[in-house]
């Protein structure tokens, strides 16, 4: 029984981008990202990395996988070595690097994911917190020095502290270390805060692709395909529905605060004086003033 997981997907990711892919379970997100480094081979169509067809003649998948690192869902389940350093060293060792080069790669990867070498290198990965384990798993991919980092639901199943920890790490990888990042996520709130671009998948197709602010304007369409918008965007939509004339574009708490603070502060100060102009223009017969 063959199931069509992806249908005629066209997408290009630019160097330095931070793209989030959203879509409900079964929409094809994970299938899509597993094509980016050749874990899956398309039935038709091509995947190009740096302009090179990854399934073309003379292309070594091994080189592609060094360029495009993939962090799976629940990557900490794949930790297996006795110490953090050994776990991170696993992939670079397999590349045939010398011991000194492997050691450099491990130290550098730990520095990048903000795990102190002295403190963590010799500890068992199994004794770490959820957020720390996930950072070890990410470091294991970074130790291959990829240009692109793909993370499949990097915060799934984590507590709020772990989520902030991993999201902060991803943002630092992008901003401080220049990684091109593609992340698959179920949290509209998180992607609104972090992503520069959103790709929306539904039934194996890309149905929206653009600036998060632009994508979240399509509130009803997103709800119809089992997604939604950040709660704050919902609030602004509800205020608009009730007839208040605030700008509706906010997708983060900070943005909503900027829009709402001046008028609400004014109303608080003058709560005994006259209110501002009636946005309903008398249509609702509130009988104000």
């Amino acid at each position: 029984m063959a199931r069509q997981a992806l249908t005629d997907v066209n997408l290009s990711i630019d160097e330095g981008d931070l793209v989030a892919i959203i879509g409900k379970t079964g929409s094809g997100k994970s299938t899509l990202v597993q094509h980016f480094n050749g874990l899956l081979k398309p039935d038709s169509g091509r995947v190009l990395v740096d302009g090179q067809d990854i399934w073309g003649k003379g292309v070594a998948l091994r080189d592609i996988r060094r360029k495009v690192g993939l962090v799976f869902q629940y990557p900490e389940h794949q930790l297996f070595e006795e110490t953090v350093a050994l776990d991170i060293a696993f992939a670079p060792k397999n590349l045939g690097l010398s011991d000194a080069q492997v050691d450099d790669a491990v130290r550098e990867a730990m520095r990048i994911v903000d795990l102190d070498y002295e403190e963590f290198a010799d500890r068992s990965p199994f004794e770490l917190s959820g957020g720390q384990k996930r950072r070890v798993a990410i470091a294991g991919v970074i130790a291959m020095c990829p240009k692109v980092l793909i993370l499949d639901e990097p915060t799934a199943g984590m507590d709020p502290r772990g989520r902030e920890d991993v999201l902060g790490e991803i943002q630092a990888l992008h901003e401080k270390h220049g990684y091109t990042i593609v992340l698959v996520s179920h949290s509209m709130e998180d992607v609104a805060r972090f992503a520069k671009r959103l790709v929306v998948m539904e039934a194996g197709k890309v149905v929206m692709d653009g600036d998060p602010r632009e994508v979240f304007r399509h509130r009803q369409e997103l709800i119809d395909i089992g997604l939604g918008v950040p709660q704050i965007t919902d609030l602004m939509a509800e205020l608009a529905r009730r007839g208040y004339g605030f700008s509706t574009g906010a997708i983060t708490v900070e943005e909503a605060r900027e829009i709402l603070l001046p008028p609400l502060l004014a109303a608080s100060i003058e709560s005994t004086g006259s209110a501002g102009p009636d946005p309903c223009e008398g249509r609702c017969g509130h009988g104000l003033r």
Binding site: T25, D159, P160, G226, Q231, E238, Y244, V253, L260, S268
Partner: protein, 291 residues
């Protein structure tokens, strides 16, 4: 009325290998009442799963006692009565489905109790109806979505006719649709079927619908109360690094800046109402909106 579960001064310690003795619970006392929807939140390692496992004798306290309908969980002769009274649902839907057809999976528990076939049919149909999965009796569980699988797992527990269901992060691995399906199901079971629900979650947006929220931190109950009482303590919540709903966070920031908002709202509707009151006008359109 007597509580379904009574936890009395419970402490639990285990041997954490190189970390020595780990005190996972420290003098915890609480009661769960029939039909109550209780959300337990807290970070990994705060003791919430350990607490949950005490509620049906998967773990026994190092000190203190747990009573299920008055039955002490230490009494081995009552083990099956206790587990039938308090059912558990876990995080990963793929690890708790045992059969290859939905109805057989739901029937698995009661079958082991020796429930006769006609009674079994009734229980399975009823359980699937309660989780809104009627029509999937002959489906293969692996073809279902995560939210559907979790609802089948809940049906399997319901078929045992429990008085309480403890769900340990049942939504952690689900997408937004699956999360709201499971949440709707457990709310229905508590308010319409009188089954006590203990819902462990990392999502505050789920906890706001509970009758009572218990916040665990380092093996103790750090906060307990209605969602509004708990969310009206932003400083404490921030100290615990807990994730508050975006509208609650926005209200906290606006209040800190001097805006006269009367409370910490829990939902979009409450926040919109409060803004309306402050601006001195009711909403423009008065039709209620269902979400």
């Amino acid at each position: 009325m007597k509580p379904v579960v009574r936890v009395e001064n419970v402490s639990y310690a285990y041997d954490g290998g190189s970390q020595g003795q780990v005190e996972a619970l420290l003098d915890v006392s609480l009661e769960i009442w029939p039909g109550e929807f209780v959300a337990i939140i807290g970070h990994n390692g705060s003791g919430k799963s350990t607490l949950a496992k005490h509620m049906n004798a998967l773990l026994l306290p190092t000190r203190g006692d747990v009573y299920v309908l008055g039955m002490n969980t230490r009494d081995e002769s009552l083990l099956w009565d206790i587990r039938q009274t308090v059912g558990m649902v876990f995080q990963n839907p793929d690890n708790q489905i045992v059969a290859t057809i939905v109805e057989e999976d739901v029937a698995f528990g009661p079958e082991n109790l020796g429930v006769p076939p006609d009674e079994m049919r009734r229980r399975v149909d009823e359980a699937l109806a309660l989780v809104d999965m009627t029509g999937y009796e002959k489906s293969a569980p692996h073809m279902l979505s995560g939210g559907q699988k979790q609802r089948v797992a809940i049906a399997g527990v319901i078929a045992m006719r429990p008085r309480c269901i403890v769900l340990d992060e049942p939504t952690a691995m689900l997408d937004p649709v699956g999360r709201s399906e499971v949440l709707r199901t457990v709310r229905h079971l508590a308010s319409n079927e009188g089954i006590a629900i203990v819902h462990i979650t990392h999502f505050m947006s789920e906890a706001v619908y509970a009758d009572r929220v218990i916040v665990m931190e380092e093996g103790r109950v750090a906060l307990s109360g209605t969602p509004r009482e708990v969310f009206s303590q932003p400083a404490t919540l921030r100290k615990l690094d807990l994730d508050v709903p975006q509208v609650t966070e926005l209200a906290a920031q606006l209040r800190a800046a001097g805006v006269a908002l009367p409370r910490y709202p829990l939902t979009v509707e409450e926040m919109a109402d409060d803004i309306g009151t402050l601006l001195g006008r009711g909403p423009c359109s008065s039709e209620p909106q269902n979400r």
